[in-house]
């Protein structure tokens, strides 16, 4: 396939697939723990971190941008925790508030960056919607350096992670450090977000966390299968998006990847056996006819 023959295309495709697979896998826990909105807020909140990292160092090195993005996202999560614990503001309102504050601050920083002489290669749009075409080999290594430890942590503690996600009260009663696992799973989610920001951008990143998990849930009743399927769907959508973007001049890869992922999700919601809308309708009709 020409996607893998051309060096630039190959880098973009592999990078996108890595992002799709890792965020798909880790996103399952965000969805099952009902933290999808937190993921969205954290990915938006990463924007000022990236902008500041770029502003301070003047470099577009992936590791520096990752550190900036992760710090801002974690700061936002921490702030959220403090607001919910110490005030009467409910968590959905606090989420919206913090998302807006961080994202707004990020936009201000970006508009300032725009006027800087060296900002041409790191324009406004590339941070908001990603710029997959600019991925280089070093970016891939950075993605692996963040993604592999995150995946490994989840796999090492798989039984505990599963129990804490399903029934935290019971987990605490047998002595598991549930708080610690909450922190671990949030850090892992930040890792997934940070990996995706260069490719799909802060605005659309939460779709890559949530959509593969929702699609995968339709096809299986086992968590083990679900995470593998979600990773597969994420990678598949990423490859399809990368390929589509080569068909026309100036078609943005990130949004195309998200669109492909949404397509997979919609198809899963309609056609999956057992849980799909079509299936459930058919069965309802059968039951009605039988009675």
């Amino acid at each position: 396939m020409e996607l893998f023959a051309d060096y630039t295309l190959r880098t973009v495709t592999i990078g996108a697939m890595l992002l799709g697979a890792i965020s798909g896998f880790l996103g399952c826990f965000a969805v099952l723990r009902r933290q999808a909105l937190l993921g969205d807020a954290m990915s938006h909140a990463a924007l000022p971190g990236i902008a500041l990292a770029f502003l301070l160092t003047g470099q577009r090195d992936p590791f520096i941008l990752f550190v900036g993005a992760a710090s801002a996202a974690l700061l936002a999560a921490l702030w959220l925790l403090v607001v919910v614990r110490t005030t009467r503001i409910k968590d959905d309102a606090a989420l919206a508030l913090i998302l807006a504050v961080f994202f707004g601050f990020g936009l201000v920083l970006l508009s300032y960056l725009q006027r800087q002489p060296n900002a041409a290669q790191a324009g406004l749009k590339s941070f908001l919607f990603g710029q997959a075409a600019a991925l280089i080999e070093r970016d891939l290594w950075a993605m692996l350096a963040v993604g592999v430890p995150a995946l490994a942590l989840v796999l090492i503690f798989w039984p505990q992670v599963k129990l804490v996600t399903f029934d935290p009260d019971f987990a605490r009663s047998i002595g598991l450090p549930v708080r610690g696992f909450d922190v671990l799973l949030n850090v892992v989610m930040v890792a997934a977000i940070v990996i995706g920001i260069q490719t799909v951008g802060v605005v659309l990143m939460s779709a890559m966390l949530v959509a593969p998990a929702v699609a995968a849930r339709q096809w299986t009743n086992r968590l083990e299968t679900m995470v593998v399927l979600a990773a597969g769907f994420g990678a598949l959508a990423a490859m399809a998006g990368a390929w589509l973007s080569t068909l026309g001049e100036g078609l943005a890869t990130g949004p195309l990847i998200v669109l492909m992922m949404s397509l997979v999700t919609v198809l899963s919601l309609v056609f999956a056996p057992g849980r799909g809308l079509l299936w459930r309708n058919l069965r309802r009709r059968q039951v009605l006819q039988a009675s």
Partner: protein, 258 residues
């Protein structure tokens, strides 16, 4: 008589509102004890703070004379059925296996011995045929039995259960109470948050009446009196027939399902 659970001066508050106030409770070993009281009386909170899930503002809990943290392996817990998402992608057997996690080390995966124990627990609640079903495909009563099986798999000395009869049919209620009696016969201690006053005398040996404070606790025939119930429920005590109060259960009463 050996004391299994010893709760002293337990006070729990959410914000500045006390939910439990200075509660003392002793549970002797080898009894079935019901915790009863009106909605919002702090029954679930009493259970959760005993298990360390809710941090008390004051007071202590000792299990066979030692702090809870040292005795975790002697405890099994059945949370309220509504406390988890039953659409979670997992099978019945997987949930029951979770009962063995407390006995496994950090990095050990459940193996053949754990699976055998989980299957035996499922057998006890008559759900062995459902081992590989997704948990969302079960009825409410079956889900309750899955939670019970998980607690049985914990192979504990003391069982804490939060409303195990909530939303189950009469047949399931029979099955559950028979299992609780088997546990008692094996010398285990069972503490149950219960809401059906009609069945207290029939099912339980001991009862604790709670309404933020401890109103009374002890053997059913001593403390399950009309005066104590009035003190616990106030004016809300309407359904109870006086004939059932503090009289030994003579005939098999029909088990009311919800």
């Amino acid at each position: 008589m050996e004391i299994a659970v010893d709760i002293q001066d337990l006070t729990v508050a959410y914000g500045d509102k006390p939910v439990l106030w200075d509660v003392d409770l002793q549970v002797p070993r080898g009894v079935l004890m019901a915790i009863i009281g009106p909605n919002g009386a702090g029954k679930t909170t009493l259970l959760k703070s005993t298990l360390g899930l809710v941090k008390p503002a004051a007071g202590s809990v000792r299990i066979f004379g030692k702090p809870y943290e040292q005795q975790r392996h002697l405890i099994a817990y059945v949370p309220q059925r509504s406390s988890v998402d039953w659409d979670f992608p997992t099978t019945v057997l997987d949930v029951v296996l979770m009962g063995r996690y407390g006995h496994l080390g950090w990095l050990r995966r459940p193996g053949r011995a754990e699976r055998a124990a989980a299957l035996a627990a499922l057998e006890q609640v008559q759900l062995a045929d459902f081992a590989h079903r997704q948990i969302g495909q079960l009825s409410g009563g079956q889900q309750q039995r899955v939670f019970l099986a998980r607690a049985l798999a914990q192979d504990a000395e003391i069982y804490f259960m939060d409303e195990p009869f909530q939303g189950v049919d009469a047949v399931t209620e029979r099955a559950i109470i028979n299992i609780l009696r088997d546990l008692r016969a094996a010398g285990k201690t069972v503490v149950v948050v219960h809401h059906d006053l009609q069945t207290v005398t029939e099912y339980f040996d001991q009862v604790a009446l709670i309404n933020v404070r401890r109103i009374a606790a002890g053997p059913v025939h001593d403390v399950f009196t009309e005066a104590n119930l009035r003190a616990t429920y106030g004016g809300r005590l309407a359904l109870l027939e006086t004939s059932r109060v503090a009289a030994p259960a003579s005939s098999a009463a029909p088990a009311p399902g919800d």
